[in-house]
């Protein structure tokens, strides 16, 4: 790619709760930006060690699942192109009970250290699971405390943000990422999370058939504090137009 040099500087930090959040919810988006050369760091608050799915048939128990899910997440990161993986070592299902101040402070330090252009996390009300909402709330607070306004987005499930009005948002709040060119990577990451995806027969169908289950788009919600969206198909707003311009000059 002719804009590799510019892209190499772009960084994305994703802060989620469990191994598989990154794949099942926004795997296409991560794979797409990784393929464009974006440097992606994933933070997983827990190792998903209290999950109900243990493989099908089960090959894990409550004491072995943490290490297994960590390993599966590492493989999924390789599939998606996520470069760095950090665990916060919080026990699954307890994120909302962890001291909020220290959790926020830990994430703020990561934001300072990594200095990402984009941060993805859960929406603190629409997260769908107490751990998701808690990590989303802490990440939002950390982002603000780090003095940042631009570049925070909340991930959303499937096509729910095709009709953002239902959730009090408008189309102007939504970035719609076309992930159709990255469904193979997303499927590979689904399969890497074997103990969670084994129960879903469709994941293990031939690739082309399995990929029909994925949407072409993944939807992200802009944080309230950020400036209006300029490019509704790209998380990188100002940076992206700059990169395109520079790439054009290089041509």
């Amino acid at each position: 790619m002719n804009n590799d040099n510019q892209s190499a500087a772009r960084k994305l930090l994703a802060v989620f709760a469990h191994p598989d959040d990154e794949t099942f919810i926004c795997g296409g988006t991560l794979a797409k930006y990784a393929a464009e050369g974006v440097d992606i760091t994933l933070v997983s608050a827990t190792r998903g060690e209290m999950g109900r799915r243990m493989g099908n048939p089960p090959y894990l128990n409550r004491e072995t699942i943490a290490a297994a899910r960590e390993q599966e997440l590492r493989e999924a990161c390789d599939c998606l192109g996520v470069r760095e993986l950090i665990f916060l070592d919080i026990r699954d299902k307890t994120v909302e009970f962890i001291d909020e101040e220290s959790l926020t402070a830990r994430i703020e330090i990561l934001i300072h250290e990594i200095d990402p252009d984009i941060v993805l996390t859960f929406h603190e009300q629409l997260g769908g699971h107490p751990d998701h909402c808690a990590i989303g709330k802490a990440t939002k607070a950390a982002f603000s405390r780090a003095g940042r306004r631009e570049g925070l987005y909340y991930i959303s499930f499937g096509g729910m943000m095709e009709v953002p009005e239902r959730y009090g948002y408008t189309r102007e709040d939504i970035v719609k990422v076309n992930v159709s060119g990255h469904l193979e990577a997303k499927l590979a990451a689904f399969r890497a999370h074997r103990c969670q995806s084994e129960i879903d027969e469709w994941v293990w169908l031939p690739d082309a058939e399995a990929m029909t289950r994925f949407g072409e788009y993944e939807y992200l919600i802009k944080s309230e504090e950020a400036a209006p969206i300029v490019n509704a198909s790209d998380l990188f707003q100002a940076e992206d137009s700059h990169a395109v311009l520079v790439a054009g000059v290089n041509l």
């Binding site: 209290m50 109900r52 799915r53 493989g55 099908n56 089960p58 128990n61 004491e63």
Partner: protein, 105 residues
């Protein structure tokens, strides 16, 4: 894990009677407790044939812990007795672990 063999599990339970034990117990979708430390005075397993099985523990002279729907067991590398109940698609419904040392937090 393997399917519960009642005789085997009964023998393993007996090893924890008369001393302190750490317990992890969960009804996966609803509750878990981890690292309850108790003095086990009695331990029982009940259930017919291939199960599922029920396990009950008497502790501290006045306490009961009873669990049902247990299907599988394992003695892990650290000598801990791990019992679990799975549904027919491998999802955990319940778990009961006994160890002489605390389980990882």
């Amino acid at each position: 894990m393997e399917k519960i063999d009642r005789i085997q599990v009964e023998a393993e339970l007996r090893k924890f009677v008369g001393g302190p034990a750490f317990i992890h117990s969960e009804a996966t979708s609803y509750v878990f407790v981890r690292n309850f430390k108790v003095e086990i005075t009695d331990a029982f397993i009940a259930g017919d044939g291939n199960g599922p099985f029920r396990v009950a523990i008497r502790f501290d002279g006045h306490g009961w812990l009873r669990m049902e729907s247990l299907t599988d067991y394992e003695i892990d590398g650290e000598g801990r007795l791990l019992l679990a109940g799975f549904d027919d698609r491998g999802r955990m419904d319940v778990a009961l672990h006994l160890g002489k040392e605390p389980f990882s937090e």
